[in-house]
Amino acid sequence: MNYSLLSLEILVTLLGVTVLLADLWIPASARKLLGYAAATGAGVLLTYAIGSGAPADGTAFGGMFVVDALSNYFKGFFLLAALVVLLLTVDLSDTIKGYAEYCALILFATVGMLFAASANDFVLMFVALELITVTFFVLVSYDRTRSGSLEAGVKYLIMGALASAFMVFGIALIFGSAGTTNFYEIAAHQAELGKSPVFLIGLALTLVGLGFKVAAVPFQMWAPDVYQGAPPLTTAFLATGSKAAGFALLMRVAFSAVPEITAHWSRLILVIGVLTLLYGSLCAIPQRSVKRLMGYSSIANAGYLLLGMAAVSLSGSTAVLTYLGGYIFTVLAGFAVIAVISSRAGSDDVSVFAGLGQRSPILATGLTVSVVSLAGIPPMAGFFGKFLLLKAVANHAGTERFFLVALLAACVGVVISLYYYFNVIRSMFWPKSVPDLTPIAVGGATRLALVLSIVGVFYIGILPNSLVTGARQAAAGLAPQSAVAGHAAAASAPAAAHH
């Protein structure tokens, strides 16, 4: 069979192993090199992935593993996230015990994500997810000296295991009722499968597992605690890679395995989305801990993305993918700053960021850009993404009251979010009390990572065309035609909205 399809996965794994082995020879003083090496590797692979090296479409492992526009789209972002996070580790390497392992684990998690992006079978999906999750158990609790980190780890462990238990049971039921676990084969029989309650229960349980990954209400409980407790860089990777992987699988299952059933469930997804975004926005208001704030904010953002999925249309999927792209840059920029500051101050309370404007312009810029983009304000990436999402929802608001309500709820959510996002900005530039104004030195790698993400945020915000085109292809490769058909049955959206 054609191994070139797996080239990325293989190479990243090798990179991880290399880092582990290299640690045995390299002296502790030069540990930084490992980080650089890992980052460079990721960078090279990234250029390779989005450049010529992108493997042609095809399937492997008897259809379990598929390479298509969607998988390539996501893989690019996974590698990017890995690259940025690894760059960020470099300047913090002294604070991380077992630095090499940390880098390696990040790479292994990346491998899981890469597989997730290509998973075309419930089995592979499960394995990929577990690879990600189990790695993250370790990454979250990596800071063993801090009991917060451990607590977060254990919470993530229990909830994660619970979720995967449900998912496995779900997969069992699916297998039982469908006789197969391959997405394409299931898609072929979804008409009659749609009538079998066992299959539906199984599918629901599987989606529960994915809902846990993307932290959708009511499976979001873990997110704030874990985001707050985990080491900042882990949180960064969790908020970007892991979440994106969740959505990658969600979209695969929803749109390429069971598009018609998804179309029937669009209202359910919509309601979940609205609840999620409102829950996230509301709970974020009184937060003091910035990491916890980001946790709630990531819940809220999952809500917006679910709205896009609920639209069950090409424009909806395009919007979701575009938004995710911008979101990854945005969050990375934010966590880069949070990581630097909180590891310095040993706390991530808002007050720690007071006067950052004077202390380190570049950090302040990074956090500001991130927060403003999250708030969905032009000319940042967040604005365009949100606009596309609202537009996708609006497509059906004309015909379905549910969507109109969702649209307005989303507006309210955005307004609420402004409230706490601007609190962060205010404390950065116009603190209530006078903070210490000792300037903060920022390492080269961190600078690089910051600049990378900030440029990304602005680029996507101002010239989103290339991203949108990519996202559109990816979404189109997702067998959206049947999705549209299925949807047209369910929600009878104006056809013009789809192309």
């Binding site: 424009s315 395009t318 403003v372 304000i377 032009p378 000319p379 604005f383 606009f387 596309l388 609202l390 537009k391 929802v393 609006a394 497509n395 059906h396 608001a397 004309g398 109109l404 649209l407 307005l408 507006c411 309210v412 955005v414 307004v415 402004l418 409230y419 601007f422 205010r426 530039f429 116009w430 010239l463 989103p464 065309n465 949108v468 085109t469 559109r472 959206a493 104006p494 013009a496 909205a497």
Partner: protein, 504 residues
Amino acid sequence: MSLSQLLLTPFAGALLVLLVPGNYRVVHRFIALVTTAITALGAVSVFAAFQPGIAGMQFEEQAAWVPAAGFGFHLGVDGVNIGLVLMASLVAFAATCVSWDIEKQPKLFYILLLVMTGGALGAFLSLDLFFLYFFNELALVPTFIMMGVWGRGENRNYATFQITLYLTLGALIGLSGLALLYSQSGANTLDWVTLKAWLAEKPLSGHSQNLILPLLLVGFGTLVGLFPFHSWAAPGYAAAPSATAMMHAGVLKKVGLYVLLRVALPFCPAAMNHWATPLAVLAMGNVLYCGWVALRQRDLFLLLGNSSLAHMGFCFLGLAAANVIGVTGVVLIMVAHGLLAALSFGLAGHLTKVTGTSDIDKLGGLLKTLPFVGGALVMAFLAGCGVPGFANFPGELTVLFGAWKSFPIFVILAAWGGLLIGGVYMLRAIRDLLHGPLRDGSIQGGDAGPWRRVPFLVLLAALLYFGINPGSLSDRIAPSAERIALVKSISAPATVAATAHAAH
């Protein structure tokens, strides 16, 4: 000067200021001043080059942006926005002048001010509704920040919070309306010109219109301060620094009306007919209710804020009338009120700076000590109560003429509000603030020096020019207004019976 150059100038200026290190304060000011001056001159040249009597777009510029989603970058001016562009750039220049002695973080202030200017211009120049919204948001955010940081008064934080909440929610609801327009029209674009042609072929269904219009009215109405979504305005302006109040009350507020003119009127005609009367009622809410509220205000800024809300009422009335006269009147008022609001808030800011208070009860007889500012303020107040010679008069008159046929009763009320209620609070303000004996503690400083007079003189000159020669505006507006108006120009004379019936 091409439109794109005009639009880019402020942003270029902002970038320049950003690049100059923080301690060169004079340089920042200078750059900002020159930039806005260039913008203003450019706008004047465009206005002069604009050919009256042509209904279509002029100086169009187009570029693809996100073809995948059907968004394009499209600039152009017709009668509806040319005057607004001119007004915006003049106000921006004035605003930069009056913020000459900002002490706290001047660099950031000027950057925000320039971004605001660029955003406002972009909103008026963009024919792609997405960019219209984009630039409007871009201009709104600096407003909030400026209020929060450089604002005045003890409850400025709350005012900022309130205005942010209101305007963002309003904008988003309006955006939902636009998004619905995008999907319902099926044109798969938000380019106004394309949409206009497309919808001329296959207009929106009544259902879609009734869905879209309320969103637009509530959303963008909120941005304008349509009763009862107005309570952000007065406290907001009271808390904002002069320049911000000038820019927002003068320019940004008009974007909402502009969108309603551009989108609601031509694209949702049926719904517009259906909602005309309720809208007119709300307009009365602005004219009368806000007027009465203004009667009670003893704070100069609250007074001005409420009076500017009252003026917006005339715009909504003209909008409801939806005929070419009414629409032209609306645009006339938008331009006039932009200049006037900027003038009033600028002068009020100067006065407050000099006397240290904006409480009318603590002031009096200032005309004696501040002959220029006082005199200019008298003119502003008179213009505010619709005295001929200033640009507001022809605007409000035109609106009344336009609305007479459809809403005689509301016109009578509006005339009452404009001529009498307006007259009462404006003259009361002159009486208590400028006339009468000098109150103790009123005076700690002098009148505006020659340079400080420039912004006010510029605005006054514009007000007077358009007041004495409104034709220079209306001849540009009318043809384009004809295109978006629902009721085409009224055939005169109407049947007397109808009029008699309508009037009673």
